[in-house]
């Protein structure tokens, strides 16, 4: 059997923590091999070892049968190993071409031959069907295109073994579809791929084999054709997982959120939200489905008071909250799970306990006459940590030290605990493993059942279909259709999101 990569009994220890405990992973030539595991199972660590970013504490790596010592990414590059990182490794202020050639720049008389480089990038992108604009700035292009740049970076260096670390977590369904096509094409060209993903559906769709790890240990390596999502999920979590969250039918009450004729401009002055109408009732979850960049971000920012509304109105329980400052909106009863938990959700250098009162610190009992009551704060933190199963050594640990899933659980705990009438959840499960996703979905439905209004914004069609009671499709800043998840299909939703009007779609709210 010909393996291009053999990672044998790899061990990696951080301090006292064993992140990789004798894991073995073997990659065949021309296959797409999935690496599956919970958040924090050690997948990224294992791949970083392969890419030379970490040095293993034990085990050996063979490339095409040869034992190798990958001391840094340069060595990995020379061995033909390329990696698309979980957190993009792109310089925002550089152009696409500059990012791709960085470190192996074509030169002419000592200076960068940028024309030639752009030409090479263009050729490469055409050859693999990775559409990018070589002269565009990274900051200005979509996440999907950024990812294609990451792939081009590896191809530019002639990699024939590609590691994709959770490439789909940040992509829209369309982009995921494109990426899958690209991967298939790459394999056809003779490349071999290791794919990390939490989405079992993707594994079933493109992968040949899968290696499952749990808490740093290798659990199993299976042929995808001989397994199914349920088996994979239970292998990885160590228990049965429900994919379809059980829920009772919704019992919508009075309207909680009424958005009327809303116009919001983006940073460039273009109307990103363009005469949008939407109503969310008590006791229902409205999911907003749409391709990234159709005004979702601006809509949420307008609802939470972070950007100015141009025209139109936002009513909460009949009260006008248009253009109120964020604090007033929060106090009026809006909870918000932000899309970017590191940037907006947490103060990473604060203890997790203090993060639990980020919006309420000034209120009784956390604060009295301007003085904080730390006992009350940490009592509350302990309660939420227990209630929402936030895995942390203690409530004094800095938020930075928690894993993404646990950070997210902390945020959800905080927002739910404030008992808001309207809960806005933006991409609440991005990058989380199936176990964590299940937990979070349950919580959202619980809120609904308690008579709250929930607005869910997500690029994951699965999630929207699964959790929502109604789905509002957003396109170019407008709600173009409202559909019942039980009566629609992914295909239909996909078409709506792409702007093609459903024949009988009555846009009512």
């Amino acid at each position: 059997m010909e393996y291009v990569i053999e990672m044998l009994n790899i061990r990696k220890v951080f301090g006292n923590f064993v992140a990789n405990d004798n894991i073995t992973l073997q990659l065949k030539k021309g296959e797409i091999h999935a690496l599956l595991g919970e958040n924090g199972a050690g997948k990224s660590t294992l791949m970083n070892v392969l890419f030379g970013l970490y040095q293993p504490d034990g085990g050996e790596i063979r490339v095409k049968g040869q034992k190798v010592n990958i001391t840094d990414p340069n060595v990995a590059n020379e061995l033909g190993i390329g990696m698309v990182h979980q957190h993009f490794m792109l310089v925002d202020t550089f152009t696409v071409t500059e990012n791709i050639i960085l470190g192996s720049e074509p030169k002419k008389g000592g200076i960068i031959d940028i024309k030639r480089a752009e030409q090479e990038v263009r050729e490469l992108s055409e050859r693999y069907g990775l559409a990018v604009d070589p002269t565009a700035k990274i900051a200005d292009i979509s996440v999907g295109m950024q990812q294609r740049v990451e792939i081009l970076k590896t191809l530019y260096r002639g990699a024939d073994i590609l590691i994709f670390d959770e490439p789909t977590a940040v992509l829209t369904p369309q982009e995921i579809h494109e990426l899958i096509q690209i991967m298939k094409k790459l394999v056809k060209e003779g490349k071999s791929i290791i794919l990390i993903t939490h989405k079992l559906k993707e594994i079933m769709e493109v992968c040949d084999r899968v290696t499952v790890i749990r808490r740093g240990k290798g659990i199993a390596t299976l042929n995808v054709s001989e397994t199914n999502p349920n088996e994979l999920a239970s292998l990885m979590v160590g228990r049965e997982v429900q994919f379809k969250t059980e829920k009772k039918p919704a019992q919508p009450g009075k309207p909680v959120l009424e958005i009327k004729d809303l116009v919001v401009k983006d940073a460039r002055g273009v109307a990103a939200v363009n005469h949008l109408d939407l109503t969310v009732h008590a006791g229902e979850i409205v999911g907003i489905a749409g391709v990234d960049g159709n005004g979702q971000t601006e809509l949420i920012e307008a609802l939470t008071g972070l950007v100015k509304v141009e025209s139109g109105s936002i009513l909460l329980n009949g009260r006008d909250i248009t253009n109120l400052p964020p604090r007033k909106i929060t106090e009026a009863g809006v909870g918000h799970i932000p899309q970017d938990r590191h940037k907006h959700g947490l103060v990473l250098d604060f203890p997790i306990g203090e993060n639990m009162v980020l919006q309420t610190y000034y209120k009784s009992p956390y604060s009295k006459r301007g003085i904080l009551n730390f006992k009350a704060i940490y009592d509350k933190a302990r309660q939420l940590i227990a209630e929402f199963d936030v895995r942390t050594p203690d409530e004094f640990t800095k938020a930075r030290a928690l894993s993404g899933g646990n950070q997210q659980k902390a945020i959800i705990g905080r927002e739910v605990d404030r008992n808001p009438d309207l809960l806005i959840a933006a991409q609440p499960t991005r990058g989380l493993d199936v176990g964590a996703i299940e937990f979070i979905h349950k919580r959202l439905i619980e809120q609904r059942d308690q008579g709250k209004a929930v607005l869910l914004v997500s690029f994951e069609l699965d999630e929207v279909m699964n959790v929502s009671d109604r789905i509002a499709v957003i396109y170019e800043g407008k709600i173009v259709a409202i559909v019942d998840p039980k009566e629609t299909t992914e295909q239909e939703l996909g078409l709506l999101m792409a702007g093609s009007k459903r024949k009988e779609a009555g846009v009512s709210s």
């Binding site: 972070l306 604090r327 907006h344 103060v347 604060s367 003085i371």
Partner: protein
Amino acid sequence: MKLSELKKFFVSTSSAFVVPVLAVLLGMIVGAVVMIASGYNPLAGYSSLLYGAFGDPYYIGETIRQTTPYILAGLAVAFAFRTGLFNIGVEGQLIVGWLAAVWVGVSFELPKVIHLPMAILAAALAGAIWALIPGILKAYLRVHEVIVTIMMNYIALHVTNAIIRSVLSDEGFKSKPVHESASLRSEFLESITYHSSVHYGIIFAIIGAVVMWFLLEKTTKGFELRAVGFNQHASQYAGMNVKANIILSMIISGAFAGIAGAMEGLGTFGNISVKAGFTGVGFDGIAVALIGGNNAFGILLSALLFGALKVGALEMPSSAGVPTELVDIIIALIIFFVASSYVIRLLLSRLKKGAE
């Protein structure tokens, strides 16, 4: 205690005390090497330094007097740092604070209980206003506070000189002395320290440190200020007014700096004279804050260290023949070692591994 236990104790308390203390020791050792290399006697050098700082009540008094403005300048720098701002303008804020304190001190005659607080308050206000400008520019126009505060230092210097000349004196070079009712000077303190110029300002400085600690760590406002310092985006999401907090932070920082000026104006000098250049206290405050780990208690200690080194240094040329500049070298080395605490910790943890 067994040796290994001793080592363990050493290691467990390392982050709090051992690292700074080691840094000071290392700085002293390298300083000794410099002295030997340049032909001085390090023992004589250090004993005169020590004597000049703590040798008798007079020197202790002078050391405390010098420590006083350092504490407040350090607090000013640290307060801004803790909220994500770099206030290089403490020097200028200190100068305008000094001016305002003296201005009030010479212009009124009031009972001490009113006059003294009023003069100090005026200094705080002046410093605050001086810091307000960079604060506003930072908050609303996102102009980098470092440039604006550097410029404000020069403006403070020249404007203060002009006011001393034209308002506080008749085209002269110094103001009248502040009235007794606004003075921090104390016959009692002077008498127990052989006429040193130590004054009651140290009390205000210590109160200042307590205030900073309390404000940042215990109050609701402090929570906001710290949050904004760490993550403006999340703070804004959480409903905090980021701009107002940036401005408030600069104001408080400036107020500390202004009070540092009041210490000079109402205590050490008792007046203000035209300044040929910066006092240096504001810039030293950066180092004080950083050595003190930007925390109120740490700043008390590092200001004392600074005060002692500066005052003690004056004794070195006459009794040991060592130039005072050696102290600057030692200070630099100490800062260097404090900054490199990562390496010191690393070495300590190696030690720990050895102990286990």
